[in-house]
Amino acid sequence: MNISYNWLKELIDFDFSAQELAEKLTNAGVAVDSVEPFGEDDYVLTFDLTSNRSDCLSHLGIAREVRALTGNHLKSLVNTERIPSDKPSDLVRIEASDCYRFTARIIKGVKVGSSPDWLVRKLEAVGERSINNIADITNYVMHELGQPMHAFDLDRLEGSRIIVRRARKGEKIKTLDGVERTLDDTMLAICDVCKPVAIAGIMGGEESGICEETTNVLLEVAYFDKNSIRQTSRRLKLSTQASYRFERGVDIENLIQASNRATELICEIAGGVDVEFVDIYPARSSRVTVELRPDRVRELTGVNVEREEILRILSLLGFILQGDFSSDKLSFEVPSWRHDISIEEDLIEEVIRIVGYDSISEELAPSFGAGEYQPNEARKRNLRKVLTDLGFSEAICYSFIDISHDEQFELASNFVNEGLDEKFITLKDSIIEGAVRMRPTLLPGLLDSIRRNFNYGQRNVRLFEIGRAFAALSKEHGAFPVERELFAIAMTGGYMLQNKALPIRELDFYDAKGALEAAFDALNLPEPSFKPENVRHLRTGQSAAIYFGDRRVGTLGRLSDSIAQKYKFRQPVFVAEVDLELLLSLEEEKVFYKKLPSFPSIVRDVAFLVSKNLSFAEIRRAIKEQEFPLLSRIEFVEVYEGREIPEDMRSLTIRLEYRSEERTLKEEEVEAVNEAVIEFLKASFGVVKRFS
C-alpha cells in the first residue's frame, strides 16, 4: 500500500520528514518498507502492513496513526455533511445477510471525461492509472478514506434499481477486466432487476459501468461480510484493491463520509447534481467494548504507564472511555474502523506500541528447573561426529519424494502397515511436481543427491542423513501417521585422503559396513550381526540385513543394478538404512574393565580354502562353540579371490590366538590345539588348510 507524503499532510499536520515519519510509523507497528521521492516535492511511502491493520489501508488510516504519535488533530476534508434519507426507498433492496449496509447515491447530469492534472498526479503517486474522472474519483476516495466504492451508469441498470442478493448458480457476468465469470449461490452479487451488475465488493460489470455516454450515476458505497468477500475472491481467483480491503474489514461508520466526499468531488469535477441518497443499514450492531485494568499494562509489558497516559493514547487512537476513569477496570468502546481489538491484551498492545517497544527493558525470566536436551541427543551427536570423521557429509533432503520411487526400496521393518490400501502418506498437491509422497525411506533423497553430485563432477561422495520417514497407521480419515526417525548412508567413488587428489582405492561393501559398525559403536550398542539376505533395492550377494539379537534393524549393501541404471550410475553405490528409533531404544552396553592378560599369547595365521557359501561368521561361531582349550581369540586376517583359487571358493586367512592366564605357553602345546582346530574345520565343513 502506497501513501503520498503531501496528500497525508492534507489530512493532518506534522513536522516529520518523510524518513522520520517512516521510522516512527514502523516503530509503532505500521511498517514502512521504503520511502521514494516522487515528482518535485513529494515522497511515496510503501507500507508492509500486517493483515490485522486494514484500518491503515488509506491516507486517513495513516493520519490516525500520526494523530496518536503527535497528538495533532485530523483536518476535515468534507464540506457537505449530507445525511441520507431514512425513508423507505425502492432504489435499493438487500436480500442477503452478507450485506451489512448499503448506500446508494444518484448523481444526475455528469459529464464523463478525463481527470484534472492534480487528480491524475495523486493517483499516480499511489500507483493508480487514470481511467476517467468518475472512476478516478472513486479510486481517489478509496485511497483517501479507505472505503472502496463503485459507480454504475444508472441508465444501464435494468429497472434503475439495485438488489443485493446471492447469485444464482450459473449466473454469468462480464467484469470490468473483460472476463466472463460464472457465479454460484455462495457469492454475493449486486443486481439490477434481472441480472448481476457487479460482484459485490470485488469488481463491477462491464455492461453497467461508466462510459463516455454516461450522464446519470448510481454511486454504491457499502459494507459486506469479510468472509463472504474472501471466499468469493478465492473461488473466482480474483483479487482487487476493493476485495483486499473488504475481506480485511473497512469502517462501516465511514460510508456516509466517503459517499459525501466522492459526491462532492464528482459534482465539482464532472458536474452533476446530487439528487438522491439512500442508506440501508439492516445490520446495525452495538459497538464492541473492551475492559482494561491499567495495572495489567505493567504486568504484561514490564513498563509502568500511568493511567492518564493510557487514556490519552487510547483516546488519540479513537477509543472512547465509557464510565468511570478512576475505577479498577477502564471500559473502552472500540472505534468502528478497528476490527482487530477484542480483548484486554489488544488494548495493552495499542498502548505499548505508541509508548514504544524501546521503553521495554531487558530482563531474564526467573529460572525454573534445569535445561534438558531431547532424549538421546548426546548419542545422536556422537553418531554424527563419528560419521563426519569417517568422511561422510550430512545431507538434508526434502521429506516429500516422487511417487516413481514407490515399491523400489525395501522399507524399515515393522513400520509400514501392509494391510492398508493406502500405506503411505500422500500430499494433495506439491509445488515440486510429482513429489507428493511423504518419504517412507531416506534412500531416494540420498540417491538423488548423489546424482546431483555426479552432475557437478563430484564422483567421490559419502553422505548420511538422519530424518523422519512417514507411513500410514490406519485408514481412518485424519488418523496420525507413523513418523519414524531413520538413519541412512550412501557412498560411492574412491577412498579419499584429505587434500590429496587421488583416492588410495575404490570404496567397497566393507567401507559401508565399517561405517555402520562405527555408527553402532558411537551409539554404544552391543555387537550386531550381519546376515546375507536378499533385499529389494540391493544387489544379491552384496546385501545384508542387520540384526541386534533377533531384531532386524536395517539393511546394507550395494545398490541394485536396476536402480543404478535408472539413476545412470556408472560406478557402484553402497547404501544402508537403519531404524534409528529402534536402535536408540536398545539397551546401551555397560562398560566394565577387563583385567589385562598377564602372559604373552601365541598366534597362528591359517589360510583356508573355503566355499563362497560358507561365511567367516559361521566358521568363527563353529570354532567358538567347540571351546578349544587355550584358544582365546579368533580374528579375520584377509580374504583372497583370484588366481589359484577356484571361482566358487575363497582363500580365508584367520588368526587364532592362544593364551593362558596361568603361564607362558609352549609352542608344542599350542601346535596341538591349532591342529585340532584345523581338523575340526575339515571334519565339519570340509574346509582345507592351504599351503600344507
Binding site: 514490564g302 513498563v303 495493552i348 551427536r381 570423521d389 561422510f392 494433495k428 485424519g478
Partner: protein, 360 residues
C-alpha cells in the same frame, strides 16, 4: 716383544694409510659405509680375539714376574692407541655418513599429512546444536513433536480459526487424509504444554513446510526454532531480555536487539525482533562498503515474538489470569544464510558435497 709391538703398529699404519688422503666430500654414502665396514674389520683384526694384541696379552703370563707389569702396561697403551686411531676415523666417517643420510632422507614437510578425508555436518545442524546448547544452559528443555499435524494443532489451538487469512493461505501442504504438514513449529508449544503443563521453558527446533515455489529465499521445507516460556509474572521485558541474551551468546557481547510491533494470531502483544548486524556491528558499513547481511541498515530482521495469546493458554488448560508467557520463533535457514553469507538457500538442500564441506 717390543719389536712385536712395533710391528703391529707398523702394520696398523700401513692398514690405515688408505684413510690418510681420504677426502670425505668426494665420497658417496655407500663408499662411506664401505669404509666404515673396513674400519670395523680392522678393529677386529687388531684388537679382536685373534689379533696380535690378544696374542701378546696371552703371552704376558709366561713372562718373568718383574716384566709383567711394564709389559702389560705397554700392551694396554698400544691397544688404546690402536683403538683411538681407528675409532677417531670411525667417528669422523659415521658423522659424515649421518650427514649424508640426513640429506638424502630429507622430506618436503609441506606435503599434506596422511589422513582420511573427513566430512562435515549440515550447516543447519551446526547452528541448531549451537542454539540448543545456549538454551539448555539457560534452563530450557529442547522439545519436538509431529511434523504431520491436524488442523487443531496447526491452527485452532494457535488461535487461527477457520476463515483466518493465515489459515486460508494456499501455502499449507495437506495430505489426502486431511492432515497438514505443520507450517510452523508453534504446534510444539501446544503439544509441550499439554504434556508438561506450566510453568514451562522450552525451545522446539524442527522442520516445517510451506507449499512455496523454491527461489533464492524460499524453499518448501525449512527449519524453525520456537521458544516458549510460561510462568507467573512473565513480561515483555523477559521476552526482550531472553532474546537479547541468546543472540549475544551467539553473536557476541556487543549485540543489541530491537523489537517492532507486529501481528501474529498466537501472540498479543506481538513483535518482530531484529538484532544489530554481526558483521558491521550495527554500523551498516563493512570495509568501506554497504554491509551485505544487513543491507546497510545495521539491523537484521530475524523472527517474530510476543506474549502468548490468552486463547492459546486457555486451549492448553492454562489460566491466563494466573500465568503469562512469551513465545518467539525464527527460521534457521535464513539465519544460516546470513551467518555464512549464502545467497541462495536452495543450496542447503542440494547436498552438493563441495557446499557441505565448507561448514564446521
Amino acid at each position: 716383544m717390543k719389536e712385536q709391538i712395533q710391528r703391529i703398529k707398523d702394520e696398523l699404519r700401513e692398514a690405515l694409510s688408505s684413510f690418510d688422503n681420504l677426502d670425505l666430500r668426494e665420497l658417496k654414502l655407500v663408499e662411506v659405509e664401505a669404509n666404515l665396514r673396513k674400519l670395523r674389520d680392522l678393529k677386529i683384526r687388531f684388537t679382536g680375539k685373534k689379533s696380535p694384541i690378544s696374542e701378546a696379552k696371552r703371552q704376558i703370563g709366561a713372562l718373568p714376574a718383574e716384566q709383567r707389569a711394564s709389559f702389560g702396561k705397554l700392551i694396554q697403551e698400544t691397544e688404546s692407541e690402536i683403538l683411538n686411531s681407528i675409532e677417531h676415523l670411525e667417528r669422523e666417517l659415521a658423522s659424515y655418513a649421518l650427514d649424508l643420510k640426513t640429506r638424502v632422507e630429507s622430506l618436503d614437510v609441506t606435503i599434506p599429512g596422511f589422513r582420511p578425508e573427513s566430512g562435515s555436518l549440515h550447516p543447519i545442524t551446526l547452528l541448531r546444536q549451537r542454539i540448543e546448547d545456549i538454551f539448555v544452559s539457560m534452563g530450557y528443555a529442547v522439545e519436538d513433536d509431529r511434523e504431520i499435524e491436524n488442523d487443531y494443532y496447526n491452527f485452532d489451538a494457535l488461535n487461527i480459526p477457520e476463515g483466518h487469512p493465515a489459515r486460508e493461505a494456499e501455502d499449507t501442504f495437506y495430505t489426502t487424509n486431511g492432515l497438514a504438514l505443520r507450517s510452523q513449529t508453534s504446534t510444539v508449544q501446544i503439544r509441550a504444554m499439554e504434556r508438561r503443563g506450566v510453568p514451562i521453558r522450552i525451545i522446539a527446533p524442527g522442520k516445517v513446510y510451506r507449499n512455496d515455489t523454491p527461489d533464492p529465499t524460499h524453499i518448501p521445507m525449512f527449519h524453525q526454532v520456537e521458544g516458549l516460556c510460561v510462568d507467573r509474572g512473565i513480561t515483555m521485558a523477559h521476552l526482550k531480555g531472553t532474546v537479547a541474551e541468546w543472540l549475544r551468546r551467539l553473536f557476541g557481547k556487543g549485540t543489541k536487539i530491537r523489537m517492532r510491533p507486529s501481528y501474529f494470531p498466537f501472540t498479543e502483544p506481538s513483535a518482530e525482533f531484529d538484532f544489530s548486524c554481526f558483521k558491521c556491528s550495527g554500523t551498516g558499513v563493512f570495509e568501506g562498503e554497504k554491509c551485505r547481511p544487513c543491507k546497510g541498515t545495521g539491523w537484521i530482521e530475524l523472527g517474530g515474538c510476543g506474549m502468548v495469546h490468552p486463547n492459546v493458554l486457555r486451549n492448553c488448560g492454562v489460566d491466563p489470569q494466573v500465568f503469562s508467557g512469551f513465545a518467539f520463533g525464527f527460521g534457521l535457514e535464513r539465519m544460516c544464510a546470513m551467518l555464512y553469507s549464502i545467497d541462495d538457500i536452495r543450496l542447503m538442500y542440494e547436498n552438493d558435497v563441495r557446499f557441505l564441506k565448507q561448514f564446521r
